[in-house]
């Protein structure tokens, strides 16, 4: 990456940081409109920087731009939306976009695994919990952020520090034979059996450990949630007005 590209990238990041700061839920004046404009400008700038400085013109990376923009915008909404349900739904969008990006990188098995595990299992449980815990409306703690300025500053400094060096990639460490097989696989998309082979041979210990970890976490979660706990605050939070069908206890 040239230094010009890097500086342009920092500029875009700074713009994005300002936009994100404005978008984060805060008390007082709503600045979401300005934040959205600035954030979109930053995304457009990001595309321009990527297109002109990093990927270069002429390259057919259209799908990358599409899914990258979707991923970034959805991720921004995950962290800025005042309703947790929407955060979760936007996160599904992030997962779908990342899945697509993984397909672009020929990691098809991983892509589908990500979709099944994240979108199919993890996010549904998140939604489940959100639905149970918070049926509608957004309480005050969803409408106020904690120290948005310092968080955005720290996060974006970190991002700039890492992304600024992303262009200085080390040369590929693949040796000739591995490279040949990988190329062969990339010619014919689909590397499921190759991944299976490497996981079952080279990373077999890690696989076993992962299985044990899953088992332990399952037992732990069961043991934790089954336990009866004393309820500290019994009175429910005040009800919002104007909700139909919610005044009668179901049982």
């Amino acid at each position: 990456m040239t230094s010009a590209a890097a500086y342009m990238l920092y500029l875009v990041f700074a713009l994005g940081g300002v936009g994100l700061y404005l978008l984060l839920p805060k008390a007082g004046v709503r600045q979401t409109f300005a934040g959205a404009i600035i954030g979109l400008l930053a995304v457009v700038g990001l595309i321009l920087v990527l297109a002109t400085q990093i990927i270069g013109p002429g390259s057919s990376a259209g799908f990358f731009y599409l899914f990258a923009v979707v991923a970034v915008l959805a991720a921004a909404r995950v962290i800025t939306h005042p309703k947790p349900v929407y955060s979760a739904v936007y996160f599904v969008l992030v997962v779908v976009a990342v899945t697509a990006l993984l397909v672009l990188m020929n990691a098809e098995f991983l892509a589908v695994a990500l979709l099944i595990i994240y979108a199919g299992a993890i996010l549904v449980t998140y939604l489940f919990v959100i639905m149970l815990a918070q049926q509608s409306g957004s309480p005050v703690y969803d409408r106020r952020s904690r120290e948005p300025f310092w968080a955005v500053l720290a996060g974006f400094v970190l991002m700039a520090a890492v992304a600024g060096r992303a262009g200085d990639l080390p040369p590929s460490v693949a040796d000739a034979s591995e490279s040949a097989t990988a190329t062969a696989q990339s010619d014919q998309p689909g590397n499921t059996s190759a991944i299976g082979a490497i996981i079952m041979t080279k990373h077999i210990v890690a696989l076993e450990v992962a299985g044990v970890l899953l088992l332990i976490s399952m037992i732990g979660a069961l043991a934790m949630v089954r336990k009866e706990l004393p309820v500290e605050t019994l009175e429910p939070p005040p009800k919002p007005l104007g909700q139909i069908g919610r005044e009668v206890q179901p049982f």
């Binding site: 995950v78 990188m105 994240y118 703690y141 106020r144 990639l169 996981i199 706990l229």
Partner: protein
């Protein structure tokens, strides 16, 4: 020719967005969602490096990352349910018993 740079930039952006969400949001569930966003950034990063080096280490690493994410989700949600039962709120600031 595959260029990994743009994927790495994207990965770092997702990671940082998740980080900011983790630091600013007060809803326990959204905090965990933010960590999952960070995971997505890491997955993209790992796979991009795997593509760059043309081997499968990165992809298998990302697979194990999925396992960790599943474990985290299971335990974290269990804890959230329990905390919610205790206090009737999802506010992370309701749990500051370790204040010095």
């Amino acid at each position: 020719m595959f260029g990994a740079t743009e994927y790495l930039v994207l990965g770092s952006i997702l990671f940082a967005l998740g980080l900011v969400g983790f630091l600013t949001r007060r809803n326990l569930i959204v905090i965990f969602l933010s960590t999952e966003v960070m995971f997505q950034g890491v997955v993209i990063n790992a796979v991009a490096f795997a593509r760059h080096h043309e081997h499968l280490e990165g992809q298998s690493f990302a697979l194990f990352l999925l396992v960790i994410a599943a474990v985290e989700a299971g335990l974290a949600l269990g804890m959230v349910v329990m905390l919610y039962r205790r206090k009737g709120t999802l506010d992370a600031e309701a749990w500051s018993l370790m204040r010095g």
